[in-house]
Amino acid sequence: MNTMKKPVIVSLILGVLMTLSGVLTRIMTHTNQIDIRQDTLSLEKIVPLEFDIWKIDSSTAALMINPDDKGLLNRIYNQTLSRIYINNEGERVMLSIAYGRDQSSDLHVHRPEICYATSGFEISSMSKSFVDTSIGKIPVMHLVAKLGNRNEPITYWIRVGDSLTRGWFEQKLTAIGYGLTGKVPDGLLFRISSISNNEQESYRIQQTFLTNLLQAVRSEDRHWLVGQLPP
């Protein structure tokens, strides 16, 4: 009798463990969405059309790369903004911001190295870096996208909840961190780029643009773009 019972006990243990895991998973999965931001965002309103030495450039209709194709765009992002700015020395910076409310699932913000690559660009010299601005050090990713003779140095970050991330690993890790505490983070892609063969010069211009822009955005709206920066 004993030899007959043992397999049944083993099965019972297996079954109970599996059921418990199922229940635990159910508890851990956030079915009720808790947003960490209560107020509503209007990108058009918080990003000024004119600030410091920069104003909207209406003269060129440069080809801007959309974060994704149209169908995906509407599914993933709740709001997008793309503008081209020009400064008093004629230097142009393309700004693209995409906001998505739910970063927990597949609907997370897409990284530029991916949307540029799918549009046929060749991605090179991707590196993590920091940009000094008047409101603090901002972690950014630098990369260069190239298609034919169009060379486009890009600076971006992705805000997930209150943290700024760069690259797949940081983005996913932060989202999981929120997920484990039962929160659904929102997310925002902030991307600036220029068309130029001189990458260092472009990054310098982009840094100036960033500093000026973040200075110009009202301090109570800044969290939409940069989250909670460490002091």
């Binding site: 297996l14 109970v16 998973t25 799918t118 046929g120 298609l147």
Partner: protein, 296 residues
């Protein structure tokens, strides 16, 4: 009569033994497969998922009689339990944080661990192919797809451009954008054929496993050849699409893309596979004849 009661008895014992496991599996994976069938597997690029699941279940069913002798030992049992626990962790993290590869691979690990715990390592040896085969139903992480897709797209565009250029068509290429006549075609992700490659490779392996050819050379060679074959099939598809657009216009090209291109792809792949298979058989025959000749 005694035989009959003992059979009833053993059936009852079987039910008692497998019921908890089945129940546990249902609790874990009913939601997973429900999500898959209504979500990911309903999309065009992951359509092979349910096919692979069905084929794997069929394979497991077919191989089942071969493992009915129970021979567990301590090592297998320890390994089985550790894999089981790790698989559950994968499941919990994967499902609650929506990391599909974790969640789906846990299914394979759980099956493997139950085999180990219940039947020992020889059962795993019997079942290795269906378990391995199920790996193909796990979607690759997006990042991996992107990094594999881009070079493949470049290669397809490059080869297409050169072939059409040799054939004297007015063709030019800029990255993955092909220009033919007045038309501009962006070689899309689907044309890279990563998914096609995986589907063909999995179905090819399935075919080889079921047919069970005795020649190891032929099996391995064919499995390897599927890679360039799926590439060639993709190039054929892109060339046809380009030429149809060139001769009949954009609308016809787009119509072809959504209706017929997939069939062309798989037909050309099938013809290429059959061709290479016959060639391999011919080589084997030639080789056999030669050895017979030298043996004399």
């Amino acid at each position: 009569m005694a035989n009959f009661t003992s059979r009833i008895f053993s059936l009852k014992a079987d039910i008692l033994e497998w019921c908890p496991i089945l129940l546990g599996m249902l609790v874990l994976y009913l939601p997973t497969f429900h999500d898959l069938f209504t979500g990911l597997w309903a999309t065009e690029e992951q359509m092979h998922g349910p096919v692979i699941l069905a084929l794997s279940i069929w394979l497991i069913h077919r191989l089942w009689p071969r493992i009915l002798e129970k021979r567990t030992d301590k090592i297998a049992s320890i390994a089985g339990w550790s894999i089981f626990v790790i698989a559950l962790l994968f499941y919990i993290i994967g499902r609650s944080q929506q990391i599909m590869p974790f969640e789906m691979s846990s299914f394979i690990w759980i099956l493997a661990s139950i085999l180990l715990i219940k039947y020992g390592s020889h059962a795993l040896k019997v079942m290795w192919f269906p378990l391995f085969f199920m790996l193909f139903m796990i979607p690759l992480p997006g990042t991996v797809v992107i990094f594999l897709t881009m070079p493949m797209k470049m290669a397809v565009s490059y080869v297409t451009e050169h072939i059409l250029y040799w054939a004297n068509y007015p063709v030019a290429r800029n990255g993955v954008i092909l220009q033919i006549g007045q038309y501009q075609l962006l070689v899309a992700d689907a044309c890279a054929g990563l998914q096609t490659l995986l589907t063909l490779e999995s179905l090819g392996l399935f075919y080889l496993n079921v047919v069970r050819h005795t020649s190891v050379f032929r099996n391995v060679a064919l499995a390897i050849f599927i890679v360039p074959i799926s590439f060639a099939a993709n190039v054929i598809r892109v060339i046809m699409l380009t030429l149809i657009t060139y001769y009949y216009g954009d609308a016809t090209g787009q119509g072809f893309l959504h209706g017929f291109a997939g069939i062309v792809l798989f037909l050309s792949a099938l013809i290429l596979i059959m061709g290479i298979d016959s060639l391999l058989q011919y080589i084997i025959k030639l080789h056999a004849a030669k050895t017979v000749l030298t043996a004399r």
